[in-house]
Structures are given as C-alpha cells and as structure tokens.
Amino acid sequence: MSGAEAAPATVTAARSAPVAAEPGPLREIWFRLRARPSAVVGLVIVLALVGMAVFADWIAPYDPSATNWGAVRTAPSLAHPFGTDEVGRDLLSRIIHGARASLAAGLTSVALAVTLGLPLGLLAGYAGGVIDGAIMRLTDALLAIPFLILAIALAAFLGPSLTNAMVAIGLSATSIFVRLSRAQVQAITAEEFIEAARAVGNPPWRIALRHILPNIVPAILVQATLTIAAAIIAEASLSFLGLGQQPPAPSWGSMLNVAKNFLDQAPWMAIWPGVSIFLAVLSFNLLGDGLRDALDPRQRN
C-alpha cells in the first residue's frame, strides 16, 4: 500500500554520477543492530563474558582451585570481593574461570547442533519425499521429549564430564535446527529467484548451496544465539546435578550445587553464580532478539 510509496528508489542510474559508497550487507546489519539499545547491551555483556573466559588466567586474582583454610566462607571483602567458599577458594576467581565452562558448553553444543541439524534440514527441505519423511519423524520424536530432560538422560548415559555434557546438550538441540532449517528451506524454495536459478541451468546441489543456504543463515544465526542461552542453562543444570564439569574445576552450576548447603550462613556463595548465569542467559537472549530484528529483510528500506 503505502510502503512502496514511502520508500523510493535508492539509486539513480545517471551514468555520470559518481558511485556513492553504499554500505554492504554486513555493515547494514551492524547499523541496524546498533540502533537497538537492548541488543547493544546484550552484545557488550557477551563480549565481556568471552573476554573473561579467554583471559581468565590473567584476570583472576587467585588460583580458582587453591584452598585457604584460614579464610573459609568469608563474606565479600577487599581481599576477596565476592567472598570465599566452604574451602576458602576465592569466589571471584572461580566465577571468572567458571565462565569458560559455561561459554564453552554453550558455544560447542550449539555448534554441534548446527553442524548436525543444518545439513539434515537442508536435505529434508530440498529433497522432500521419503527422505524428508524419515528425517522429520525422527525429529518429531526427539522434540516430543523436553530439551532439558533429554539432555539429562543423554548426559547420564554418556557419563559425567563436561565434554559429555556438551555432546548431550548438542544432540538434544539438534532437532530444533533440523526443523528450523527445513522450514526456512521450504519458504525460500517458493521464492521466484529459485525458479530463476533453475531457469539458467543450476544443478540442484548448487541451488541448495549458493541460492538457498545464504538466505537461511540469518534465521539460523538468530536461533543459534538464543539456543546458546538455553545451552548455558542446561550446562548449569547438568553441573548442578553433578553430570557436567567435575570438581575441583569451577562451573557456575556446580558452585550453586555446593552453595545450596550454606544458603543461610554464606548466601554470597549462591548469589554470584546465580547472577552470572542470569547475565549470560539474558545477554545472549537480548543479542538474539536484536539480531532477529536487524536481519529481518522486511525492515529494509
């Protein structure tokens, strides 16, 4: 209706006119992401967490595993800004190192889920027929089991370790990406430019990789960011249950598990890992929502 009217052609073809520097697609996405304060906040926290995890050895004031029997469960102080735990370890150092487990679990498990789910979804959506039926029935079966329950069951089956927890979370999240990429492929395949691609003689594999894949990447990216948040919660839950990161290596989930025994004597032992999980999850969700808006082609003008 009025949309086309309000947005006139951005380019005039005057042959003599100098070519204006138009932003490329990536720059444009950055511009639109930047216009959303919540997304910027999310991005800043994500970057801070990543920095914390990468440089933990340099930032952390103490060895996260070093016990100090002279300073057991001390309240936050100048020497220990976050306090200490039941064996006198510095909580700030453990939170900083714990970011590694959380982020590694979030990123690795989602990377695994995308690596498995995207090709399967692409295949199901583009090939259709029996292949689609088989892949989708399997996916439906997996989606029928709640994400966290499935992850716990798989982790228990594989045995307690951070690596196994990541594999369990990744496998549990795979079906999300199969389903999403299949739906995206089907939507893109209905577009006229896919027909145009066939009309010039593109073989099917080239249509899938060159024409369909680049157009579904944005949706996958958004979903991946949101799933990282869910995976961080899942890792914390598994570690809380003793199925993830093994002591004495720090993890926010296992820190919470220990802290629950000292809630009235040393509440700070629970507060810091709790706040950390909350911030990590919130920041990935904010970033994901911002990306969703920034990548939406309908917002173009």
Partner: protein, 308 residues
C-alpha cells in the same frame, strides 16, 4: 487439433496440457484441475508471440511448461528438433543456454544475497566455465552496458536498485548466453508506467540485435499489440483465438477476445466516457468454454464451439 502451420518454427508446442489432481481428504484422486488443456502453437525465429489472458487463464503455467520449470502433464515441446519433455534433467540443464526466462516480479526474482554482478555472471559460470576470470568480468561489464546499467554497480545488492534496474539485471542475465528463445512472463507488470516503455524498447532492441524469439506473456493488451507479431488469447486454460496482431486487434472473432479488447481503457476522455457507459454494471455470468480451433482466415484461428 492441428495448429497454425508456420514456416521454420523455432519452437513447436503441441497438445500441451497441465493437469493437477485434486485429492480428496482421505487420499485418492477425486478430480482433475485442468490448468492448461490442449494448447498448441509455433514460434518462428525472430518472432514475438504474445500470450494474453487474465488471472487464472493458465498463461504463466504455459510459460513454465514450455521451459520445463514445471513440466507439462502431456504434450510435446519441440525446440530445434528436440522434444524438451523427453530430455533428462541433465540434458535439459544443457539446453537452458538456448532457452531463458524473464520473470514478472524483479523484486523476488533476484537472490537478495547475491550481488548484481554475480547474478549476471552465474549463467556464464555454469555454461562457459572454460573462459578466464578476466574475460568473464569483461563480458559481464559488457552485458551491464548493453541493458543500460552502469557496470560500476556490479558490486551492489538487489535492494539497492529500483524496480526497472532490477528488471534490467534479470534481462542481462537472460541474454548472457546469447539464447535463441526467451519466455518473458509479465516482465513489465510490476514496473511504473514510465519505466515499462524503457524495458519494452530494450526487449525489442535485443530481439533485433540477437535474433531472439520471445514468448511474451502479459495481461496488458496495449503493450502486447505493440511488441508482438502474433497473439494468442488464452481463456480458462485453452487458446480461444490466435492471429497476427494487426488482425486480432482489428477483427477479433471470439466473444472473449472482444470482451477483453473492449475492457482496455482508452487515453481519450470522450471516447473513454462513451466506452464506460456501455459496460454492464454487474459481473457477467460465467460462460462455457470450448477450445477447438478452426482457421477462419489464413493464419487466424478461432475456437468455434464457444457460446456466441
């Protein structure tokens, strides 16, 4: 049905049908929807055949059946001696260098994540990959020039172009392989009036230069008359009239053709007011369709058993 014989056809379409089974909810075929039924026509070298019809007439279905993008249920499409309907997928992909298509909506016909240059280059990569990169880049720049676009815009993405410019990109891509035949499915319908004439002139110039044949699918009878040598009127999946364009517009025989021509607005206020006052206010009742063509004058074919 026999179709208008033509000397040296480049493309012969014979008894082309596209039927869709309508499944009932418990499975099984309840009935068949005949989107296109028993359509035959020829296109000569260097000729433009107009295919005119309203929505639901099956005109786009014909275009996609002829190019095997949506192959016909039955019938033959003979191009340079080869029946396209009998080719394997691989053979058909090779054949596409001679048969190209321009689509209606230049907004959805361009891959939003491919630059204009990459889009025009793609057919060359697929069918002429033995040439060097520099040669191909040169070729793409030449194609941009040919369709009236600045080659410096090759790095831009579709959303940075206007509708008319996008359609020029599509045309550059279609002529990249110097095809013999182009199906143009409503190529100007989505463009502004002042831009439509530019694109029509471009299509005509390219025809003269490259010796192209067009199947020009359109609902715009004014442009069809201007661009096409012969015109076929499609109604409810069948051709009801086919003649050279002068004859068809001067002496329409089928009642539907007459109704269609009478509906075209005239850019003359006095004549237009007269025309409107003769139009019935209510929608006319649907008429029965019959599609057996007979030659009423040399080269002028009309479906005869339609209601008169």
């Amino acid at each position: 049905m026999t179709e208008p014989a033509a000397p040296y056809p480049l493309l012969s379409v014979r008894n082309l049908s596209k039927h869709y089974p309508l499944r009932s909810w418990w499975g099984g075929t309840a009935s068949v929807f005949k989107a296109v039924h028993d359509v035959s026509f020829d296109i000569r070298p260097n000729e433009t055949l107009g295919l005119v019809g309203e929505s639901g007439s099956g005109k786009s279905t014909v275009g996609r059946a002829v190019t095997m993008l949506n192959p016909p249920t039955s019938g033959h499409v003979v191009f340079q001696g080869a029946d396209l309907a009998r080719l394997t997928a691989r053979e058909m992909r090779g054949m596409r260098r001679h048969i190209q298509m321009v689509f209606q909506d230049p907004y959805s016909a361009l891959n939003p994540r491919m630059s204009a240059g990459a889009y025009v280059l793609e057919p060359l990569l697929l069918h002429a990959a033995d040439r060097s990169r520099a040669e191909l880049r040169e070729e793409v720049a030449g194609l941009f020039e040919r369709v009236g676009l600045d080659p410096r815009f090759a790095g831009r993405y579709p959303h940075q172009f206007s509708g008319g410019q996008r359609q020029r990109i599509c045309i550059a891509r279609a002529i990249a392989l110097k095809p013999r035949f182009i199906v143009a499915d409503e190529p100007i319908a989505a463009l502004d009036v002042s831009i439509q004439a530019q694109v029509v002139n471009l299509l005509q110039d390219l025809q003269d230069e490259l010796g192209l044949s067009y199947l020009f699918i359109s609902h715009d009878l004014r442009m069809v008359r201007y661009l096409c040598h012969r015109v076929a009127v499609l109604w409810r999946g069948g051709i009801v009239e086919l003649a050279d364009s002068e004859t068809l517009y001067r002496d329409p025989r089928h009642p539907y053709t007459r109704r269609l021509l009478a509906a075209v607005p005239v850019p003359d206020p006095a004549a237009e007011r007269r025309r409107i006052s003769t139009i019935g206010l209510a929608e006319p009742a649907p008429q029965g369709a019959g599609h057996v063509l007979t030659e009423v004058a040399p080269g002028h074919w009309v479906a005869q058993n339609a209601d008169g």
